[in-house]
Amino acid sequence: MLARVAEALYWTARNLERADDTGRMLELSHAFALDSSGDPAGPGVWMPAVIASGGAKVFTQNHLRASERSVVWFLTFSEINPNSMRACTMRARANARGVRDALPPEVWEEINSLARAVGQWTPRRLAHDGVFTLCRIMRRALHQVEGAMDAEMRRDEAWHFLRIGRFLERASTAARLLEARWRIIGDRAIAPGDRVAPDEWHALVGAAVAPAVMMAAAPGALTAEAAVRLLVADERFPRSVRYSLDRVEDSLLELEAMGAAGRRNTGRDLVAEARNRVYMLDPLPVGPDLTRFLDEIQERCNLIGTHIASCFFDYRHEDPTGHDRQRPQAARQAQN
């Protein structure tokens, strides 16, 4: 498959995943602000969402305080935030449009419809319908996109590059989200085995994790440890770091089997290393250790991303005619 096409597919999936992850973070902050006994406008409620999106610097340069209004706008439609849900969606569409022949029509159609829907939102509508509606539209559209991919696509290179993009983004964001959520709970030291209050539990794992999922994964109690294990190390929970890295590894293995990488190193060893770090979590890191650990995961994900790019996309051809030709970059984000 064309290197350019592979790259565009990869970034299509990453941008879609990122838009959805931002939506999840917003929902979580929103739920916490409603549940919380503390000050709903306090910096501990909304700022973590901004930090998790990687836009803290841009945000503080442009906004005085992290209120519901400023943060919701910043993360959804703001023009100054390169990772707003709108920006991610539009980038995903731009990438997908450039390679629409490599996608089943259903998939392209869903991405296009999503971008059209998001493009039509106005500040008024956001105030009127609320951020939940937007997040729900986003999530549904993404389910449709992923459903169409799973149902329609041959498991060829295109499918695997989409999958790698989706799960690498998810692994990295899962770590970032957990870090931000931990901040929401605040500085209160939580030891393994400590029970957490239901509102804090919400803040940690989010409403998206059905209680049934939780009970199956960690029978017993709502403990901080159970939450971390679920989000980081669970082998069967599709939003955990571990699960996501496993999928990246699978796909790289498949690509190797298809001969997509030639004899080059696809970086599967890097993925395996990262996965081994989240495998056991014994002992469970707590406090600053947890933060450090989550930082390390993100750093490893960045490394994997860089390696994949140089292995598959950065295929520079020497040009015998001496013509200076540059390949336009796929519309990606500035790495945060």
């Binding site: 064309l2 290197a3 022949d101 598959f312 013509h323 390949r327």
Partner: protein, 516 residues
């Protein structure tokens, strides 16, 4: 002007018009019919659907009756759903930086079987001759030495490429896909308006229009012997495979597109996907060892055939425009070495030059020894002194076109021009006689188009496509383009044109359809 057909019809109530016959479905149906075609006036033009107000031509009769069952609001609802389909599938073209849908009219254009058979054979004949002409120009130039065309005309044709002399395309095929624009005037005769032999666009709309019609307006297809168009991409693929340097068995074919910002990008993606070939941009390709390769995730893969959707002068910055970022440096070298085929062949633009058009009937006689089956539009060349006198004298009756103009630009339509515009064109024509041609104005035929809740007559033309591999094959129907503005003769999509699904009927199918 004729009397409004509404009043005309009521005067003959009970005697004429199918709505009043025994098969009249309901009083309600009659009402609908009257609203949809109320005040529809075929006027003095040739109308594709009606012989006279309320009297459809035979090949439209079934469709016309079918419309009885449809309320105008239902028809409008279908029209809106089609537009939404185009939008949600992102079937748009870029114009001045905005994405537009190509307006689509729900009422198909129907071509009866006998007329289509005539068009089909005429097109095959024409494309055969044009293809031989291209081979001749860049080869022995017999047509020049035998005096059929002038050497000077060729040398000054903007599509002429000196570099193409060294290249012999595989199978000596030059025009793999052409779109020949046809019109008919008030006498009902089909005429060739111009040939498009470089990179004709619109084929994707032929396929997509039909697919959407089937989805939204399936009842219209009942018992109609319509020739299918779904296999059009496959026909094109066969023609491209024929061009492969190593023979048509399993060549690696790519479609070279300028990228997503090109107005026709949707078409490039659609055709590539339908043909199962790779859509590439210039920077995906590289030349090494006199061979074209594409950069894949696993390294370089050789390319055998390039279906290019960019013009000659952008193909290779080494051979042509050095500032082109769209092309592939060294591509011409590979063509010369015969390792890759480019479709349509480089230099083929010389055959669809608007001045060469005048000579095409002679070329058909010369190469094929046959009389041309399709008529042309009477055309004058200002570089001939007699013609020039006629042009200057009759400019208000003529259409003056720049020979290198496209998309309906650089054109003067005499009957609707101002004296000032005519003076301006007269000046331009005198200064650069080789740069223009003039044609008799054809009162383009009209067809009903659904606008603002009912049908209005609008001018149409037809662009059928011919895929030419081993033999020329015409894709049934083609793209009917509609001038949506009242009275306008310009059907180009960049200037507010729309399209219709086009049904080429077949007699064999008629028998089959009647049995059901």
């Amino acid at each position: 002007m004729l009397a409004p057909p509404g009043g005309h019809r009521s005067a003959h109530a009970g005697r004429r018009g199918p709505v009043h016959g025994a098969n009249r479905p309901s009083a309600r149906g009659a009402y609908h019919w009257r609203v949809l075609f109320q005040e529809y006036d075929p006027g003095d033009f040739y109308d594709e659907m009606f012989m006279a107000a309320g009297h459809p031509r035979d090949h439209y009769a079934r469709l016309y009756r079918g419309l009885h069952a449809l309320a105008p609001s239902a028809f409008a609802g279908k029209a809106a759903r089609i537009d939404d389909l185009y939008r949600s599938q992102g079937i748009t073209f870029d114009h001045h930086g905005k994405e537009h849908t190509f307006p689509f009219d729900l009422l198909p254009r129907v071509i009866p079987a006998d007329e289509w058979a005539h068009i089909e054979s005429g097109l095959c004949q024409r494309v055969r001759a044009l293809d031989m002409f291209a081979a001749d120009i860049y080869g022995e130039r017999r047509a020049v030495s035998d005096g059929v065309v002038s050497a000077e005309l060729l040398a000054t044709a903007s599509g002429y490429r000196r570099a193409a002399h060294a290249v012999r395309p595989a199978g000596d095929r030059w025009i793999h896909l052409s779109g020949i624009d046809l019109v008919r005037g008030d006498d009902g005769t089909w005429r060739v308006l111009e040939d498009n032999a470089r990179v004709p666009s619109g084929l994707s709309y032929v396929v997509q229009n039909r697919a959407f019609m089937r989805r939204i307006f399936s009842e219209a297809f009942e018992r109609q012997p319509i020739q299918p168009v779904e296999h059009a991409p496959q026909m094109l693929r066969d023609a491209l495979a024929f061009a492969a340097p190593g023979g048509p068995a399993g060549p690696h074919i790519v479609l070279l597109s300028p990228g997503p910002f090109n107005p026709a990008y949707y078409e490039h993606a659609f055709l590539a996907q339908q043909m199962g070939i790779t859509l590439v941009e210039g920077h995906d390709l590289v030349v090494r060892d006199r061979r074209v390769w594409m950069a894949t995730t696993s390294g370089r893969t050789p390319v055998d055939v390039i279906y290019r959707r960019i013009d000659d002068e952008y193909l290779d910055p080494v051979a042509f425009r050095g500032d082109s970022l769209l092309g592939v440096p060294g591509l011409m070298e590979c063509m010369r070495a015969g390792t890759v085929s480019v479709c349509n062949a480089v230099g083929v633009g010389v055959v669809d030059d608007k001045s060469v058009y005048v000579d095409v009937p002679d070329l058909i006689r010369y190469y094929l020894g046959e009389e041309p089956a399709l008529a042309q539009v009477p055309t004058y060349r200002p570089d001939d002194p007699d013609d020039l006198a006629i042009i200057l004298d009759r400019m208000e009756h003529l259409v003056v076109k720049a020979v290198d103009g496209a998309g309906g630009y650089g054109i003067l339509i005499g009957p609707v021009s101002t004296a000032r515009e005519r003076d301006e064109f007269a000046r331009r024509v005198r200064r650069n006689p080789r740069g223009y041609i003039a044609q008799e104005t054809i009162a383009l035929s009209r067809a009903p188009v659904f606008l603002d809740g009912r049908f209005h007559p609008r001018h149409v033309d037809l662009r059928p496509f011919v895929a030419y591999g081993e033999e020329p094959r015409v894709i049934p129907g083609g793209l009917t383009r509609v001038a949506l503005t009242e009275g306008s003769l310009v059907v180009n999509s960049s200037q507010g044109g729309g399209s219709k699904d086009t049904w080429a009927l077949t007699t064999a199918g008629a028998a089959r359809g009647a049995q059901r």
